[in-house]
Symmetry: D3
Subunit: 293 residues, 6 copies
């Protein structure tokens, strides 16, 4: 801040930022925002920056839910166990041992790491698995893939209560079937389902991509806003890249469930959450029901 204040125009700039931000702070207060954490934002120092922003947002009364996955880390752990992944039609098969490893890595390692990072900033994060208090009821997606699940039903009671205590739930994408069997679920899907169930104000998906691209070969062609109908058309016509499909579907599911808007942001940009939420000009791609003006 020092440098900022030393400059001549700084007070005016500061006042301008604050004047712009305060109405958003007021607007988001008490509202739920679901953030899917992925890619670089989960690694190294960026986790800490992310955790700091999460703590700041929670401090002004925003009800934040953080969802994370961990595919690469699960893969690493399997290797350490000398276990090789098996694929059916290009999709990884999750046998009982893989599931156990996934659960250990997601719940016991990644989740704990995020919780610890947020708590270093003074906010009270709480690790939550989809199996806790029956948060996520899962069904098997496809018997040939083993214990890979889909979200069948969400019971947000425990999230609502943790949020009302001012706590920040950090959710691992594990669910349980009616018979108590655990399933590994795609984390984007979980984030979309939670945003829908909470009728969140916003779903924010952080990844190593800056948003939806107008030209798939030009990383600078990030679209600032896309309507649901345009996006459905793109999805149907196969224009959406493989890796973006679950993210886009999660956004559509969230919007369908009543979420105000969904945002695909570049998790590599520091403080991208603050910039998106508290300035008039957003960053990344915003998806909402009505067509862009």
């Amino acid at each position: 801040m020092e440098s900022l204040r030393r400059e001549a125009g700084a007070p005016a700039l500061t006042a301008e930022v604050l004047t712009q931000a305060l109405p958003y702070i007021q607007r988001f207060r008490g509202r739920s925002i679901v953030v899917k954490l992925g890619g670089a934002a989960m690694a190294g120092e960026m986790v800490d920056t992310f955790a700091g922003d999460v703590a700041l947002l929670a401090s002004v009364g925003i009800r934040l839910v953080v969802v994370h996955g961990g595919g690469p880390q699960i893969g690493e752990m399997m290797e350490r166990f000398g276990k090789s992944a098996r694929f059916v039609d290009g999709r990884r098969v999750t046998d009982s041992e893989t599931l156990e490893i996934a659960r250990m890595v997601l719940v016991g390692k990644i989740n704990s790491g995020i919780v610890a990072a947020v708590n270093r900033h003074g906010s009270l994060a709480v690790g939550v698995s989809g199996e806790d208090a029956r948060l996520i009821k899962a069904v098997q997606r496809d018997p040939s893939l083993g214990f890979v699940g889909e979200v069948a039903e969400v019971n947000t009671d425990v999230l609502e209560r943790l949020l009302s205590m001012g706590l920040i739930p950090v959710v691992s994408s594990i669910g349980a079937g009616v018979d108590g069997q655990s399933y590994n679920i795609n984390a984007d899907t979980v984030a979309g389902a939670l945003a829908a169930a909470l009728r969140a104000e916003r779903l924010i998906v952080l990844s190593d991509v800056g948003g939806l691209l107008g030209d798939i070969d030009d990383p600078a062609s990030v679209l600032s806003e896309v309507s649901v109908s345009d996006l459905e058309t793109s999805l149907a016509s196969g224009e959406v890249s493989e890796g973006m499909i679950p993210k886009v579907e999660a956004c559509l599911a969230a919007l369908d469930g009543g979420t105000g808007s969904a945002h695909l942001l570049d998790g590599r940009q520091p403080h991208v959450l603050l910039l998106e939420l508290f300035t008039d000009t957003g960053v990344g791609t915003m998806i909402r029901t009505e067509a862009p003006a």
Copy 2:
């Protein structure tokens, strides 16, 4: 904002301002801040800027109480009535007619004007006279001065309730004696008494002076922080200028009653309230009980 965002470093600056401001926003939420409005800040366009800031502050949950006086305006009105001021030992005598004029000007003109200005920004201001719901119990200051009062007792019930409704009380410095007689009271004194009674987080006195001066002849020698004990010494030794005395006394009364800190700010600087409350480096002079480090 446009220009800000267009610059290369803008996102970083914006993030820096927000990162610095959010903890203050959290800290002041639900806390009471008493602002004495005076001088230029009450006039022309500045009232509107001030009203906008007040609305923003209230929108993030700060419990604001605005206190105003209006000596010059009362003088003007008396002239229009063809009534000349009478003085005893250099102090204006307030006879029954003067009191009636003062009440009309303060309650019916200035107060109404501030209320209207704040309400144009979407916040709900409510005009309050010290006579309402026995807010300010007054006693006569000196019989030779007529209906000039001192604050004998403050009953903040009505303020607390208005604040808890999310409303912004705008208080005129009129009080009532036990017998129902009205008195005109110095507005700085009223602000200090209210800050003490509310155990406010801060008392902020806006005037056309930038703060306490280290060198009375150098307007640039504004002291950034003064301790109560140093201030009492200055006051006793006559170093404080005539016009600042009631302001300084109001600050000391507020601090004595449990107010966290008192601030003398330059009401001519736009958004001075935001800059004072939401940045690490304050503006103007801060007075607090413990000596500056």
Copy 3:
């Protein structure tokens, strides 16, 4: 009381009054009653008697709202300012300066006076302008009349809260347009609009007339009860005197909005409020939706 008790039959009479009054006291408890104060009841000692009754009524749990105007006092003040009234089609034009004077007189003088009078009786009155907390949203009535407004919308939140605090709002008939422009509004109209918005149990209009007359030339021909339909007929046929028209219209508006009954009472009769509310035989003229039996 002494004389009353000394007489032979006094205890029986006392018991009779009490037996009759208690069910009304119970019935009105917690209910809202809007009283429009006008004429003699606003002047001299009668204000004090009125204030005493208001304090008594509030003490037994009746939620009282007092509305006042002040045409004659505004006229007086304009004269003192050497400003002469201008009329268009017989209606006073309110230019910017007239509005400012009206506001000063209504809010800063009459309202403050009534508040002070009630508070001398131990109850907690609070002055409220229609501009406070957006109580009365106004629209211009007729451009050629200047800043004369009509009630466009009423937001009774602040009244409800003050009432639930056991306070007595005293309302000045000033409103604000969406753009924040102030307007002077007929006080009868404001009283009727507030009674409707509060779905008051009763609207009571005090004036120097004892009620509606059966024979316009015989002051003793006060009608004790009139139905809405009869009154609408009289209004349409021009039988209602000039001065009574806004009062009658206010009553009809209140009844239309759900007020239980409306009453035109003689404000010159001491304790007329108590007699009307707590005895089987009312005083003045009662107007209600259904036809009199």
Copy 4:
């Protein structure tokens, strides 16, 4: 009321009664008043007048507890059972059968009768025995008298709850020992103990005597006020008549427990409760801690 209103001065008288009564109505609202019902007030039409007053008092928010005994009625019932009373040192012995008869008469007959009478006036009376919810814990007074009890402890929980429901408890003077044994207790004593336990505003004892007499032979010499110390002196010196002793002791116990004042009233005077509570000049004898002025 008709006759009252027809007279010339009636409105003034009515206003006078109301002006005097309203502050008392406000003062007693939410306060507890214990009324011991005895003698003529329990018989014939007077029960109905009493019940009507009780209903009126409850309707304006006074928390009334009615206590009754029933010695003569118990005697009558014993006669019908062909059972003669046995005395030890002039006090009736209560054997097991007598107790059963007393309980039947008090709880099943007198209490039910009072409850029914009050409920005919629209208020919700509830019969309560001292055995209900352990209201009155009793101990045996003297083994030679059998099942005659003293109040050992009072648990007013159930009374407080019934009162807070707006109900009127009508209490029979039966208590239970720790072993569950029932005892018959003097009703004046019960009334005094309840007034003390409830820290009632007032204890009112209705009997066929108009109060304490200055001259025991002159029924017109009713004292209007007596201090506790004077009364204790009279009691010690044997000046208090036999029948008044338990009443006087109950008053002293109530005052000692924090009851505001105790009153001995003539239950034969219609509406004596209203006259006592709502007029400046009381009726009967008031006993309070401080000496009369």
Copy 5:
């Protein structure tokens, strides 16, 4: 317990009973159960066992309402008064004196006895007559039978409040007409009406019969479950014995009003309430809307 624990298999049995009982304890918590007490269960030591069970049930949060009659005891008392019963078409005529005796016996003797018995077990029972707080509004059944009433309307407010205080209402089957006239009502009918009005979880009718018999001449032929439709058929065809008719009708009325199930149990079996409520295999006859499987 000693003997139980000493046996080899006792811990297993104990665990089995608890495992079975706990879900029922959870299920009935906070639910209302109306118990009609009659026959042997009201007499001698059985009252004490019954009272102990009632206290236990209340202690785990079941909202119990006990209803009792007392035909035989009323008959006995009438004899003692030398009053002979008069019959019309085989039904006892209740004249004014009989009613008074019935009220005394029910309210002043039986009710007080049950209340005292429960309170000896540490729970807080409260005697309630149907006349209290207008619990049971009655109408005359048949003028030729005198003051015999039917239930016209039930106002369970007072019961709900007593239950929410954790108290156990013990209800006498007396009601009051709109004019305040008391009526004696069949206690089975009262129990059925209260169960319906409270939408009780269960109505339990204790009598000296073990339930409905398959073969009217074989006391061992108790049916364990009967459907409402079968029961209505039996009732219509005259197969239900005289004494069981009001009980069966009360059960049907309760079920019709929303009671979960109705049970006819043998009041002579110790702890029959515990066994019915907390074990999988019930005792006596259960009646419910749907046909038995």
Copy 6:
């Protein structure tokens, strides 16, 4: 249950068990009980029986907190990672990698397994790590042992809230230092600290030992009750076996913090929780402050 009911005396036995159990059910309702799960009770089918009992206890309103460790399972996992344990003075050293493995096993495997088991019985268990919401603030025990922690402070807010939601927290014995560093902590110690912080009614430590032995060589010599002072003596004199020391110390810490009593039970006995809590004769060893009678 079938066999139980078929026997002649079954109803009496059932009634006896219930009569004994109900007062305990009432007594423990709303009270907190901390259960340390260890040894056989964590393995195979016993986990399911344990989970069933936990669900039953929660269903009757007991606030259960389950704490678990997992030394053997951590050892197994380390082996799979080809990592050998290192010891200092006979205590395992926890380096950074070991800590990560411990966290994964405890939080991601054992905890998740217990949560899933309880949830299969219909209750809502929630996995909680000591790092969540700063539940357990840890300090390093001994630098030479690496990341082995001691409990420095417990913040039970999140547990209290989960308990008040009717949820069952299952706690892993991981804590975090002020700097956010994670530590592995002995689970007995954590259980004792939580019982103290919650002022639990009971601490129950389940292990493969039946309790404290009178004669260390005779497994049948289980002491049924030991006083704190006797236990401290035994501890000081080295009579307590190595494995029991942390358990005994946890019990003493809990009692010192206000826990009602501490119990060492044999986790291999089915339903040992139910038997301990709901029968007069306990099982295992009870430790409490006062000496056994």
